[in-house]
């Protein structure tokens, strides 16, 4: 056994010396290979973590959201429709939502203004039509706590509770005033009653919680309309059926079920999706060129080296072993280096490389640290995508070259 290990060590010694003789070429190869692993691993870590985080956070999102569609676009929802939805069997609660966007020209940012549902804030007067109380929901007690007394902040008419991103962007603190231009041109000065926690920035960075009266005054929406409604269904397995019934009874409505919301986030950062496919295909293409270059043949120098080794007594198997170690040294170093760099990039630097694309043209961007959800499957997939093809691609042409006569290998130096 010791003799076998010692033989492998001598071959590795020789292989590394051989690699160092072509230092620039091989270091360039290693750097490029590491970069490919880094891009693939960063994409994989980022997409998996954000998908996992989205699925955990959004599992509490509404079971069904019903919008009204007018000329193919989201329109205000008539309060009168609520009774029609209430009559559908299996529906236990219908709650209206009032929310919209406000563009702040001062900083060029879009804010999301939202009136908290009645279950979240006792003092809010959002129109609610409950058929019967929610039953069997362990979280319902927690979710009906008045959220808006967080850190002593209480939402009252003339006040706002703002997300941490807005507070940071506008340098606002508690009791500051923020002016808004209402739909009729009048100026509304609203006092900041508090800020939502920085922990929740991934969902609340651009949120502004506002009372129903202030919301209607700001946007000029009458009391007969809301933005959309949330429907609670008694039996979770009937959600799709209830959604289909809503669509049937209210032809101009668009029900969106929770599964669709979760699927949206699953597909956005899917491997097949948009930017990811560009990143992925570029990396794969580079790797294919890499492997092709290796597989298509050896340089004249490499062929001569093999010829000399065979002439001094190396077996074909020794030459193949040497090239196996060459592939393994380069690919293992690149794999570990790339994965480590990708981890640091995604979870310590906040995806610095992806950041400009993620931010887009937004002035307001949440500061959030992704939770590192890493598993063996991801690392195994990466390993088989990168290390195995490269090592195989290195061995195949060597086998061809190692079986030829040393004399002709040394003579054909001009190729």
């Amino acid at each position: 056994m010791n003799a076998w290990i010692e033989k492998q060590r001598y071959i590795i010694d020789f292989t590394i010396s051989s690699l160092l003789r072509r230092k620039v070429k091989n270091l360039g190869l290693l750097a490029l290979y590491t970069l490919i692993v880094f891009i693939l691993a960063s994409t994989m870590f980022f997409t998996y973590s954000i998908k996992k985080e989205a699925s955990l956070i959004l599992k509490g999102s509404p079971e069904i959201v019903v919008q009204k569609i007018l000329a193919g676009r989201h329109d205000l929802f008539p309060v009168g429709y609520i009774d029609t939805i209430k009559q559908i069997r299996g529906v236990v609660g219908v709650e209206s939502r009032l929310w919209g966007y406000y563009y702040d020209s001062l900083v060029g940012a879009n804010y999301t203004l939202l009136t908290p549902p009645k279950t979240a804030a006792g003092e809010s007067h959002a129109k609610t039509a409950s058929v019967e109380g929610e039953a069997g929901d362990a979280d319902s007690a927690a979710s009906s706590k008045p959220l808006l007394e967080l850190n002593g902040a209480k939402l009252e008419p003339g006040t706002l509770i703002i997300g941490n991103g807005i507070a940071r962007l506008r340098k606002l603190t508690r009791d500051d005033y923020m002016p808004f231009r209402a739909f009729d041109g009048t100026i509304m000065n609203l006092r900041i009653a508090g800020t939502l926690s920085s922990q929740s920035e991934l969902v609340s960075s651009d949120l502004m919680l506002i009372t129903e009266d202030d919301f209607r005054k700001l946007f000029g929406i009458d009391t007969q309309h809301v933005t959309d409604v949330i429907v609670t269904v008694k039996n979770p397995s009937e959600v799709a059926t209830v959604a289909a019934k809503i669509k049937k009874r209210l032809i101009d409505s668009r029900p969106i079920i929770r599964d669709e919301i979760l699927r949206t986030y699953d597909s956005i950062f899917n491997w097949r999706g948009g930017m990811m496919i560009v990143v992925f295909s570029a990396a794969v293409l580079a790797f294919v060129i890499f492997a092709w270059d290796k597989a298509s043949g050896l340089s004249a120098g490499e062929r001569r080296e093999i010829g000399i080794l065979k002439a001094v007594g190396w077996e074909t198997s020794d030459v193949i072993l040497m090239k196996f170690w060459e592939g393994a040294i380069v690919s293992l170093s690149a794999f570990f280096g790339g994965v480590i760099l990708a981890y640091v990039h995604v979870f310590f630097t906040g995806s610095l490389v992806f950041e400009p694309a993620l931010k887009g043209w937004s002035s307001l961007y949440p500061n959030f640290d992704l939770t590192p959800f890493i598993n063996a499957e991801q690392l195994t997939t990466l390993f088989f995508l990168t290390v195995v093809p490269y090592t195989v691609a290195t061995i195949v042409p060597i086998w061809r070259a190692a079986t030829i006569d040393p004399d002709s290998a040394m003579r054909h130096t001009g190729e």
Partner: protein, 98 residues
């Protein structure tokens, strides 16, 4: 020092660092439970539907609530032009052959 020894030292160091990072991931995942629960509770209380990732346009802010004609929303020949649109996929109905 022999090249092979140096190589195995380097490889061991890389494996060790990766192992430590995996431990870090596991610790962070455990520690993040409170934060995840807080975000999940906020989503439930306020009836939120989307992550606040792209605030540049209304249909990128609330991706799950966006109109089906999102890429052409402003006028008939208005093509999707926000950078974050490149992260998203077209709706299933558009890509499926009929």
């Amino acid at each position: 020092m022999r090249n092979s020894t140096l190589f195995f030292y380097c490889l061991s160091a890389e494996v060790l660092v990766l192992g430590l990072l995996l431990v870090h991931a596991s610790v962070r995942e455990g520690a993040a439970q409170d934060s995840l629960n807080e975000k999940s509770a906020l989503v439930k209380r306020l009836g939120l539907t989307d992550l606040c990732l792209f605030t540049e346009a209304r249909y990128t802010r609330h991706l799950s609530q966006a109109d089906l004609n999102t890429p052409f929303q402003d006028h008939p020949l208005s093509l999707e032009h926000f950078p974050s649109g490149s992260f998203t996929q077209p709706p299933t109905g558009v890509t499926q052959s009929r």
